[in-house]
Every structure is written in C-alpha cells, then in structure tokens.
Amino acid sequence: MLNFTVFYTVIRIALKAIWANKMRSSLTSLGIIIGVAAVIAMTAIGTGASADISDRIATMGTNTLNLQAGRASGGGFSFAAQSVRYLTSDDADAIRKEIKTANAVYASVVAGGKNAVYGGRGTVARVMGTTNDLFKVQPWKIAFGRLFTPAEERSAAMVCILGYQTAIEMFADLNPIDEDIRIDGQLYKVVGLMGQVGDSAWGFDPDNGIIIPLTTMQNKMGARADRPKYVSTITIQAASFDVVNQTQDEVLKLMRQRHRLQPNQEDDFYIQNLAQMLNTMQGIATTMSLLLGAIASISLLVGGIGIMNIMLVSVTERTREIGIRMAIGASLWDIRLQFLTEAVILSLLGGVVGILMGVGIAKGIETFGNLRVVITVSSILLSFFVSAFIGVCFGFFPAFKASKLNPIDALRYE
C-alpha cells in the first residue's frame, strides 16, 4: 500500500503545490507560526519565572521557619477575647534549648527608617537588632571587622555592623571599622562590615541595612516599657530539609505550651515555612505558565482553522486537477493523502519556523527585557507535534471533500 515510492511522490507533489503558491502558503502557515512562537515564548517566560522563584527561595534557605506573633488567618477582624501575646527573647532561648532538630535559632526586631550619620554624610537605613546566630542561618558574610562579642550582646553595647551599600553611602571608600556613627542621634561604634548580598530576606535588605545587638535594640533603640524582651521574628533553621515539618510541629507544640493555650484556642502566633512557600509559589508559577500556554494555544487553533480554510479554497481551485488525477487512476486515498500531506507540510513548516521564532523571541526578552527565560525541550517537542496534529485534523476535511468529487464533473469544471 504505502511504500516508499508513493510516499516520496506524494510529498514531492505536495511540496510542488506549496511552492507554486508561495505567497498563499506562507500566509497560511503564518497562523501556525504565530501560535507556535507564542506557545514557546510564553512557556519560556513562565518556566523562567518559576525557576527564578525557586532560586530566590533556595538562597533564603528551604529549611528555615519563621515564627511571628499574630494569627495566620490574618485578614478580617477577630473578636476573640484573648489578647495576642508578643514573642520574647525567652521564647527564642526556649526553642534553642528544647527543639533538638533545630540547627540554629535567632530572634530579630527590625526598625525602619533610621537616620545614620558619619561626619557630614548620612543615609536612611533599616536597623535590625539580632544575635550572631543570624550569620549561621543567613548567607550574609562579614567582609571586614568582626561579629558582636558575647559581652556586647549581653550588655546592650552600642556597636553595629554595616551593610555593604550603607557603608558606601556613609564612608565612600574610607575604612569604617572602629569609627563612630550616629543612629537617631545615639553614638554607635562600627565593628563589622558585611559583603554584598544582593537579595533581601523577610523584608530586610542587608545591603542597605545596619545590624545591632538584639539587646541594644530592646533596651536602647526601640525600647518600650510595655513589652520588655520584645522580638518580632524568631527564625529557626532545621537540621535538614527532611525534618522541617517535624521541627515546625515541635515549635508549634512548644509555643502553645509556653502561651498556655487550651486545645480549643487558636494559635496566637504563626509559622512560615519556606519549603511550603516554595511549593505554593511554584504552584502559582506553573499555573501561570499553563495559563499563558493555554492562551497561546488558542492562536494555534485559529492557525489550524486558517489552514483548513486555505485548503478548502485550494480544493475548489484545483477541482480540474483532481478530476484529471482521478481519471488517470488516483484512488480516493491517493487524493486524500495528497491534500492531507499538503496540510501537514504547511503546518509543520509553520511549526518549525514558529519554533525558531519563539526561541528568538524568548532570547530577545532575556537580552532586552532582562527577564529570565527557560526554553524547555518539552515545549518545543510539544509545539512540533501539536502543529503536525493540527495539520492532520484540519487537513482531513478538505482532503475528504476533494476525494468526494465526481471525476466527470471535476473534469468539466472551469
């Protein structure tokens, strides 16, 4: 039936017909080209965004938990009688002591928009009060100078560590170590300088920030009589990614115990799990790229309908040719195969050009739009096979119509 000679001839005839109508053929393929290019570019952007999110969260550490006061449900008003208890340094100490699966724990308080001045130069920076344990959890490094000493941490010493950008703004290229600066008028000695980090974590940008001992924050800078030992966040690093959920459960239990919550009472704190967040955000990104792909594939569908239209016109236009072929001995399937092949070649050509164009667009967006794109082999293969499939689907009706022509009438057709 379908030996090589027939196949070769059918393809040759189809290519000839396509080549004979170059302009019309390229316009026909345009629909598929745009559709495939759109699918490839869109999924590349979607996948790029997803990979970007993963990477950002990975640098923040997927095995860290954030404990904060308040209700996880957030949103609306709660008229529950109980007051929300704030977190304290004692909570952090208890977690450090009790939770065996925790690697490192640090508590922190962030104060925003403080004026920091050295000599005539100044800047506005967020100030974080925390302990040296922060540097075990966050990938922030001391470039010059040192961490806080235990004595400084205990005694609420007036010392600070500067962020990379903060130091540049205040000291330009001078060495800030052991210099005194004023933060909100109070004198602090610079003991350390952080290297450039780039990413911010939990609303604190280390490059544009200043770090002081937690005790200093609690007793000097942000001191409030109504809440001694106040901390806003306790960050817990689990020993590994596998035990994150276990750590979370243990912290939850411990905190309920410490806050003396009855079983019927809701938590008055909440725990953010980065691993969970990663999953959620990746889910959103995947949905996004699916959505983008779905929108783009509508244009593929429209392209397919375009091919069908042109093929129907082509069948009418070539009625006489079909008649000649039938009289000479072309069978129903010879005719069907010919028009089907033409439609498939048109859509495959469109597919290949579309893939090249889609990759080009994605690369262009990467270069000029400064957006991360990831071109996946699967999206290329998918577009290719989808365009072939469209060719078969939308080519069949015109091919069928051609084969149904009566040879006598077709030969007489002018």
């Binding site: 000679t5 000479i328 072309a330």
Partner: protein
Amino acid sequence: MELIEIKNLSKVYSLGEVEVHALRDVSLTIKSGEFVAIMGPSGSGKSTCMNILGCLDKPTSGSYHLDGIDIIAKNLPDLAAVRNQKIGFVFQGFNLLSRTTALENVELPMVYNKVPQEHMHERGLAALKQVGLSERSGHVPSQLSGGQQQRVAIARALVNDAPIIFADEPTGNLDTKTSHEVMSLFSRLNSDFQKTVIVITHEEDIAAYAKRVVRFLDGRIVEDKIQTPKMPEAEHA
C-alpha cells in the same frame, strides 16, 4: 475474447421530477485492436456512453465487461485501479497539469500504478519518444503548442501499457492540420502497437480515420458500420 462487452445498457438521470434517458438499452461489443469512432449530435448519449465505458460513471442497468472484469460489480471508487491499468484517456481540453513538465505529466499514471521511481523516467521518456516529443520532456504545458500538448496527453495514455485509448473529441481544440497529425498518430498506435482506440467525435473527416463507426441518436445506436480507414499522413515531427 471481447475487450469491451456491454449488454442492454441504460442510463437514466433524474433531474427533479423529470427523468432523462441518456442511454436506452444499448448493446455493443468491441474487440481488441479495433479503431472505433463514436459519433452523434450532442445529447445523443455518446458522452454518457463514453463515461460508462471509461469507468468514470456507472449505468442504471445492464451489464459491462471490460477485459473480462465485471465493471458493474465494482464500486465507483474501486474503478480507479481499472482506469489506471486498462484505459488511457485523451481529452478535448488536453487536461495536463499546469506548472508540471511534460515528462512529469506522462509519469502521473505510473505514480498511481506504484511503478518504482527508477522505471518511471525510462518509461515516461519512451512514451514521449513514441509521440515524437523527446526533446520537449522538460517543458511545461504553457510552453507547448496545442498539438504538442495533445501528444503529451497521448503519451500519458500510453505509458501504463493500457490496452484501450479513449479519446473524447481529441481534435476539438486543434486546427485542421494539427487534427490530422493527431489522428494519424492514433492510426499508427492502432496499426503498429495494436492499441484499441475509441474516438468520440462529430466531425466526419476525423471519424474517417477509424475502421468502424458507431452512430448514436437519442440514446440508441442507429448505425454500426465497418469502413475503409483513411491512411495516416507521413510522420513528421
């Protein structure tokens, strides 16, 4: 054995309420190697008869055997293979594929007969040589004269070694001189290659080349006579 044998053939077209009897109880036998001219005014049924004999259409009733094959028993789509292997068509309007070279046009019946690629060129060129057009194998129809186009069509009818050549008004679009050249070619194919040639025409001087003339009128055969054919003209390219 008879090459073509039709018995009591009728064809009725129903145009809404009206029934048109295109063929009424026609019986005809044609032996291998005959050169027959089918004549008759338009509406006489000769074209309908041609379509049925050419396996392009099926009769309403009657029997038709072609080279021993029961044509009535086959479906119209299945007749494509019969047309391909038993019949070569030559039409009034040449019916060559435009934008396609003479050689490729001639090769077309072999494409549908699944002839291997390597034999196609050889046989196609041989057929073109038979009609004296070897030099023009690479030309497309628009670059050929009417007579040359009709000769390409004849080569196409020959290439599959079909025993029968059906020519429907083959000279209708040609001038007198070219008409006689084409008819001479048919004569030679009949006498030198034992092809059975059936020509439909309404011109007496074209029918003169045939050995037998069958006349149709109102869907019936009114005359069937043997005649001395006009001799073909000397061959010239």
